[in-house]
Amino acid sequence: MQIIVNATFLINIIKADASMLETMNLATINSVAMEVENELGIKLDVEILKVESSNPHIPKNKKIFLSESDVHLINLSFKHRNSCALVTDDKLLRWIAKMNKIKCFTTPQFMAFLLKKEKISKARCTSFLNLLKETYIRKKDIEKVLDLVKRW
């Protein structure tokens, strides 16, 4: 499964534990990579995908609430929806992705997914989620994912 990510996810990972990026095969679009690289002053090692057009349903009144990068990510994820997942912590992007049957994870959910798929250890997952609490946009979500992970 191709993992397409937006800036919120990349920023979360880099700020909490950048070494985590080495364990993942991620892809994004050029405008997102540039934005993160410029903001954090780093060089990202992620696959850059070409922007592709598709026809997802985006309610007309919601279009103005999205950036050009958001729309490109939705188009790309929709086009490859049977073989990709979008990772974003943005509520609106998630809502539109789900409306279009695009598999979507937030950063904490994606960590639990990686653990479930045995891509990372339980210790690494828990430690990362605890680090993420420092900066994450919705700290209560992390607690719920941590509760789940502890039961596994």
């Binding site: 919120t8 950036s67 639990a112 209560k140 979500d141």
Partner: protein, 93 residues
Amino acid sequence: MGANINVTLPEKVAEYLKRKSKEGYLPISAVARQYIAKGVVEEMVLDYHKKGFSISKISQLTETPVTKVMGILSKLGEELDDIDEEVAEIEKI
């Protein structure tokens, strides 16, 4: 080029700005400008968020880095409306 706005501030606020100006060896106008800009940006970010704009769009509209927008929004203590459902979904994978 910015606009020139004259404001009258409460005495305590003015005293604080004067102190900060001395500590930082900066003109009082520069110190006041920093505080006002910070407060207004935060207010704009929260306002756009309340209206439902995406983080990336808020960043563009307010000319604020995504990292900073996320930092401001993290103070709200929000959670996803469907987090329980989402967590249950992961269990099924």
